[in-house]
């Protein structure tokens, strides 16, 4: 008995069609939550910064980060206001993940 999210991978296909490529890109994901969307492109990005104001959800993202990709991802408990106050550089792609 279980829940399966987007087994058809419509989200992944849409991301691929819209982002063109994530290869070597520096990406900011706003509202990354548990990292569900992040895992879909992290292996291709150069570096990903995920932010979310919900600490509990973000702690799941940290815990679930694949060990081989840990050096490519960082997560911060913050909304975009707080993050933009002390940004760590600029980004090739910003994803607003259901966060507006």
């Amino acid at each position: 008995m279980s829940i399966r999210l987007d087994p058809e991978e419509a989200e992944l296909k849409a991301l691929a069609a819209f982002a063109a490529d994530f290869d070597g890109k520096r990406i900011l994901e706003v509202g990354c939550g548990t990292g569900r969307l992040t895992w879909r492109y992290l292996d291709r990005a150069a570096h990903v910064v995920g932010i979310d104001p919900n600490a509990a959800r973000l702690s799941r993202a940290v815990a679930d980060t694949p060990p081989r990709l840990r050096d490519r991802a960082e997560f911060h408990v913050a909304d975009i206001d707080a993050f933009a106050a002390a940004p760590s550089g600029k980004f090739d792609t910003i994803i607003l993940a259901w966060s507006l």
Binding site: M1, S2, I3, R4, L5, D6, P7, E8, A10, E11, K13, A14, L15, A17, F18, A19, L28, V30, L37, I80, D81, F83, A84, P87, K90, F91, D92, T93, I94, I95, L96, A97, W98, S99, L100
Partner: protein
Amino acid sequence: MEPSGMVHALELARQLLLPNGRLLDLHPTGEPPPIEIRMGTEISRVGFLRETDDFVEYGLADAAVARVIREGLFVIEKSDQYSFDIHADGLEELLSYLAEEWTDAVIDDDIVKRIESLLSSSETDKEIILRDRIYIARLRPG
């Protein structure tokens, strides 16, 4: 988020983007998500999930994006929609998932009864499918 907060978030995103960067916006369209039951190869629509307030925010998000485009902050390159489907083996699993992840979602009692009735059949290959329409857009700095 308030409408002014959404516009502000888009302004901050613009500041954080490289000049040739791209912004991807993904959010639900606000259309009521249909709930279906699949029994083998047969799919029956039993009703729609009702949201108490999130759908209002999705409309406001559309308005905020439209505003920053009007003001020249971003140019929209392309947009589309896709279906983000949630498959549940049973009603209990679906309700538990919604309670945790989609807190303003309501499945009305008459729909619950229809789901329970269909799932009580002897068919073993069956599931509930919730289909959420998602808007996706790619924007570049204006």
